[in-house]
Subunit: 786 residues, 2 copies
């Protein structure tokens, strides 16, 4: 590799000389963040006490990021194109911090870090410093919607951000390490989904940095022909910027960027003129420059620039090692800071004016949730099911919700999207497809069902893409729903962690508007995956979400269709949350009329007096339930108890909002112990729960009477079988619940064995019927509450 | 699409006529599983009572799977090539069940399902039937190592199975739906990792079925040129089998299969002769045949064959709808069962002999864990650190483990592999690289570090690939370790669920040998990700794993290097488990010498008498801890308590094996309440825990004295800061723990405020130091226990 020393800037095109100065300034500022506590402008010789005691940061990716930011800014100024910047290698935040500080937006958002000497000192000091700012493109960074850190989601986020933002170009920088992840690998398919007229454009910039932490990257070692073929096949037209000579790279990058934007305009213009039956390839940039470019070439006799050794901090032990200190000083001075900043630390004019006036990426309104519009939502009441008495009418909850969502879409044609891994119809949300299609821009043939090039339902067999696209859409202020099979929600466990952290941290910054909530419709749930078998049976996603910050996480278990309507209406109106709504799609009994459902869901939990028999006297046992199937089994258990022990005082409690059970100091939705006791009484509680039983224990272990709470739930017993058998295998069937309740009533001790024997025999008969006929016995399958 | 009716088999090549009959037999048997309760050979006219009341199954993928199986068998018989079959579309298990029944291996493993009329009736009845077998390629299916269900991992499993199996070809059928997932998308890179001499070969068979549940698939609608380019770029040479005319497809498939195996042999031969500096493309097959091929063409006037409508059950309501019943009968009879089975239900000779004698894929020994060899392991004692007294010596636990793992590798050169998402060195396992390299078969350049084409350390920036490859390696009886950053283990949450389910279910079948455990080394953990910030801080993976079956799940938190050695030695010797070992990589204090560590780890938890002050008298407070950093803070709290209240009776308890805390009826490792009380006493417990505090509560809520247990752990407070600050932010720092302990001692009530005030001031001083200097104050950073 030949190399032009960073100090020499020979041959740089006249119109790019200032851009190069900007680049040097940004690199200087990024290196300064990693190293300097003081002496920010090197106005004196660098001494050990100017150096941070603990050196943290990721230098390797920085020069490519700053270079890209510079050339994007140039393009914005030339073309007036609105752009948003997504930084895949989030660890390179020092680069983005430097760029936004040079733009002035950093100081605008963080006045204590002004564009002056004190501000520059603080800029350096705060980076990865206790009480300072994190090392990622976290919410504190203006213009960022993507923290990075966990790799794989940059391109999906960028794609989601571009949806319904026709005037936007989302420049998305992707590290070649990140490009090895599964989610990123499938994200290239996003090109097949963006509409040329109603959506914006994603401009991927694949940074072939060459190395990860310790290994080369796969994409960097494929031949260029192979890389080209792989990207082209997936709908992209790669334009290459390669080299290690700044003058040549600047020249090439400027030309490629101009060409890419020109091509983007062409594609859009042609689309507007209705040309082209099939989407053309979209331009993208492949940037192949040395890792740690312009940093130390060799350290202690070992090559650093251009290798994995520049990944983090290229020069270590600087306070102790005078040679390293001198080398650091040389490195920093090679950017010629005296040309870049005035004595007050302000960027000199020719750098300060290299920023768009109105279109700074770090001030993009969408990135901060500005202009986000609330949904105009229909009234859930208009979709509610009417019935004569609770527990007699059958409906499919998600199908009922579908009607509501359809009309919500009609009211919000450019502000609401649906995502599903090929399960939208399977999850019974068909009604939505009455007013839109599935997004599909590839070939269509006879036999296809409701595919349209601008459909509002995104289906792709990747939970990662569904989640990533939706996140990108939400992070730029719009609304959406992700419907998915319960068991496979775990596929995005790690993504929801990162999103929840983002929401929690973003709430600290008043210049970020709260963004619409991430709404999950978790259906095809554990109790009705009897036909799909064990791999489809796992209710643990709610455990996972409830382990995240209480300010953010919400879990709702509406027992029927009317409750689902009210819960979902609430979720779609909320902001800044992760809402998990678990609801069945199978025909199921309905319990609450519209009014009762509204009140019940607002309270989040409550006594179902119409099903209870403790009026005017203390309950002898409480049957609690959360989730549609557990509610059904609980009410069936109540019927059995009425039959077996007519004078038993039973109270039925239903929980919709699981967080109500938390003590109030653990979750903002938690009710007081007094309120809790008012609902659950001092009687023993038999709790039939949708998920793993220990989730209830971990939420309620500090509650009064917890020692007398017996939770029945999913204990990972399942296979391909019948719905009732799923309940029976896990002990949440009506017979088991009734038996558990009877065991808690001291006055029935004498009769207990006989009663339990009766219940056990009936459970076994029901199970035997299923094993004989392959379906549930009519008395359990067609049971109604009366 | 032109179409030859399945009844007509005109023009089939002579040598494939029997193969076509086998194919018809397998299709017949698969359809029979979906529909028939009785009348298995259609010896009488089909009546409603012969039909299952509940129709479950996935027909769409079946004909392609049976076709492939037939042609693979033909190839095995022709070439004597050993093969293993991985079925990506696991929902298509009816096809695999049919194939293995025809081969006789199904009846061998399940004698109640014999190769006779009664057996065929049972084969049909049991499928997706209560008390029967699941609808997936689950462990009950001989030859299966991959259940499917959750999609995305077939190719990774196949790749793992091929490693160190030089004579094996793993035929891996990939659905075009599955191909859209992230994990599958990056799995194509596997071609870059398989060694041509020491590893076997993966033969991907991409089934372009055209549709998912309701949508077309992306890969099927790309142009063939695009698909070709995408696959070739990633190291594959696609060979196409397309059509809907059986005769032509048979002919083509036979030729392509022959060609593929010939090419595989060529590649291996050339490798053995040392030719070719770079790996050539590996052959793969693209099979484009109609979804639901040979099933009903139209149903109720709507096209079914060749569309998404054939995905599951193409004809529904068969018991009630005479027209559908007649259509089903026509469909089933179109396979001409009378030609395929004798009157006793046994496959006729020309079908029965179409199976390899010794190399039946369904009898592959590796698939059942046969021939799996235990590791020859060094003695942990030889690697143990010696020191004068506990809590004074510093070591990096994972670096110490690295020495042990290096020598384990030397002893087991073809039976042990290491996987890491580019973190092997970052996780301090460098010693392993003294005796092997990182697996790398692409271009190498100056600056690369220890890359070798046959290295035993697999590094790729995809947790999905690391996990998937390791699972494939384990499922075929070999051993391995996955080391990864704690926070990002969540990326494979859903994969570990499916693997744990597999292990649990596989244990039911005595003809499956227990396979080596899935061993996670979870390092770079939450408490020492102070430098990487919030995105890297999440200890929830252990919560997730402990929600899986207790027979399978194990979590270990060794407090120091010697304990880590003994724990890991135990894990590497175990089978059938998911072992999660959480251990730090940073310099940390060491507590137990080799002997004490061995005893402590065997017990799983115990009193640390040398740190306690309750000898001869009842403890006033118990300080419990689990995890290296919590242990350090607990011991520091003990020091503080000694200083502040010298006569306080403190007991220190350390927990290594978290499952010890479960009641014995909840986990096989659970200790009795008596034993529990013997350790924890009746005194209040202040528990410093590595993870989320509620995990301890959910495990121990039924334990005596639980109301007096106060758990401090990670409550999602974190950022880029210092190690001590991470503890302080979450209240598990020494000062907070000491204060919490003091609050539990009634006799100190008077002095409590003063003592707590002192502790709080010291914590704040330490925090202030960090905010000023960017590093921890020496008194917390360099503290030792004496």
């Amino acid at each position: 590799m030949t190399r032009t020393m960073p100090g020499s800037r020979t041959g740089i095109r006249d119109d790019l000389v200032d851009l190069d100065a900007w680049w040097r300034a940004a690199n200087y500022l990024a290196a300064g963040q990693i190293y300097l506590l003081d002496n920010p402008l090197l106005s004196e010789k660098l001494r050990p006490e100017h150096i941070k005691q603990r050196l943290i940061g990721h230098w390797g990716t920085v020069p490519g990021v700053t270079l890209t930011y510079a050339h994007l800014n140039r393009a914005i100024m030339r073309t007036g194109q609105e752009m948003l910047f997504v930084l895949g290698p989030g660890h390179g935040a020092a680069a983005l911090t430097a760029a936004t500080w040079l733009e002035g937006t950093y100081s605008l958002r963080h006045p204590e870090v002004g564009q002056n000497l004190a501000g520059m000192r603080e800029l350096f000091r705060q980076f990865s410093f206790p009480g300072g700012v994190p090392s990622h493109a976290a919410p504190h960074l203006p213009g960022s919607i993507h923290e990075g850190g966990e790799l794989g989601y940059s391109l999906a986020h960028a794609t989601g951000a571009a949806l319904d933002n026709p005037n936007l170009v989302v420049a998305c920088m992707i590290g070649d390490g990140e490009a090895e992840t599964g989610p990123l690998s499938t994200s290239w398919h996003g090109s097949m989904f963006l509409d040329r007229i109603t959506d914006g454009t994603v401009l991927p910039i694949l940074h072939l940095n060459g190395y990860k932490i310790a290994n080369p990257t796969l994409l960097a070692r494929m031949s260029r022909a192979e890389l080209d073929a792989m990207l082209t096949a997936q709908g992209w037209e790669p334009m290459y910027v390669e080299g290690d000579n700044p003058a040549q790279v600047h020249d090439r990058y400027a030309n490629v960027m101009d060409e890419a934007l020109e091509r983007i305009r062409e594609i859009r213009d042609h689309a507007e003129h209705g040309l082209g039956p099939r989407d053309p390839c979209r331009p993208m940039i492949v940037l192949a420059t040395p890792k740690g470019w312009t940093g130390p070439l060799m350290v202690d006799g070992v090559r650093v620039e251009g290798t994995f050794r520049s990944h983090q901090v290229p020069l270590t032990g600087v306070r102790e090692n005078p040679e390293h200190l001198a080398q650091l000083e040389d490195w920093l001075r090679s950017y010629r800071p005296e040309e870049l900043f005035d004595d007050e630390g302000h960027p000199v004019d020719r750098i300060a004016r290299l920023h768009p006036e109105h279109l700074r990426m770090s001030a993009n309104r969408a990135a901060h949730g500005h202009d986000s519009v609330d949904l105009r939502l229909p009234c859930p009441t208009d979709y509610a099911i009417g019935f004569a008495s609770p527990g007699t009418e059958v409906a499919e909850a998600t199908r009922v919700l579908g009607g509501y969502l359809r009309d919500a879409l009609v009211e919000n044609p450019r502000n609401l999207l649906f995502f599903s891994p090929d399960e939208h119809t399977s999850n019974r949300l068909d009604a939505v497809l009455e007013v839109t299609g599935r997004r599909w821009r590839e070939r269509r043939i006879a036999g296809d069902d409701r595919l349209t090039p601008d459909g509002r339902v995104f289906e792709v067999l990747s939970e990662h893409l569904c989640q990533g696209w939706l996140e990108g859409y939400l992070l730029t202020g719009r609304h959406g729903v992700f419907s998915t099979y319960e068991a496979f929600a775990h596929i995005v466990d790690s993504m929801v962690v990162q999103h929840a952290k983002w929401l929690h941290m973003a709430a600290e910054f008043p210049w970020r508007e709260p963004i619409p909530s991430l709404n999950y419709l978790i259906t095809s749930h554990v109790w009705r995956q009897d036909h799909n078998g064990a791999s489809h049976q796992d209710p643990g996603f709610i455990d996972h979400v409830l382990s995240k910050r209480p300010e953010v996480s919400r879990v709702y278990l509406p027992p029927d269709a009317n409750c689902l309507l009210h819960v979902f209406d609430h979720c779609l109106r909320s902001r800044g949350r992760v809402n998990v709504v678990v609801a069945g799609k199978q025909p199921a009994l309905q319990y609450l009329d519209d009014d009762a459902a509204r009140v019940h869901c607002e309270r989040g939990l409550g006594v179902w007096q119409w099903a209870s028999s403790d009026s005017g006297r203390p309950a002898e046992v409480v049957l609690a339930c959360a989730g549609d199937v557990p509610t059904q089994e609980t009410l069936a258990a109540v019927t059995l108890l009425r039959e077996l022990v007519p004078d038993l005082a039973v109270r039925v409690v239903n929980v919709v909002d699981l967080a109500r059970l938390f003590p109030p100091d653990r979750h903002p939705h938690g009710i007081s112990d007094e309120e809790y006791r008012g609902v659950f009484t001092d009687a023993p509680v038999v709790f039939a729960f949708h998920g793993y039983p220990w989730l209830i224990h971990r939420i309620a272990y500090r509650r009064p009477g917890h020692d007398n709470m017996h939770v029945h739930g999913f204990t990972d017993n399942g296979t391909t079988t019948t719905p009732f058998s799923m309940c029976a295998m896990n002990g949440i069937d009506r017979f088991s619940l009734a038996a558990a309740a009877l065991a808690e009533v001291p006055r029935l001790a004498d009769r207990r064995d006989a009663l339990v024997g009766d219940l056990t025999a009936r459970r076994e008969a029901a199970e035997a019927y299923a094993r004989r006929h392959g379906i549930d016995a009519p008395e359990v399958a067609d049971w109604s509450f009366r």
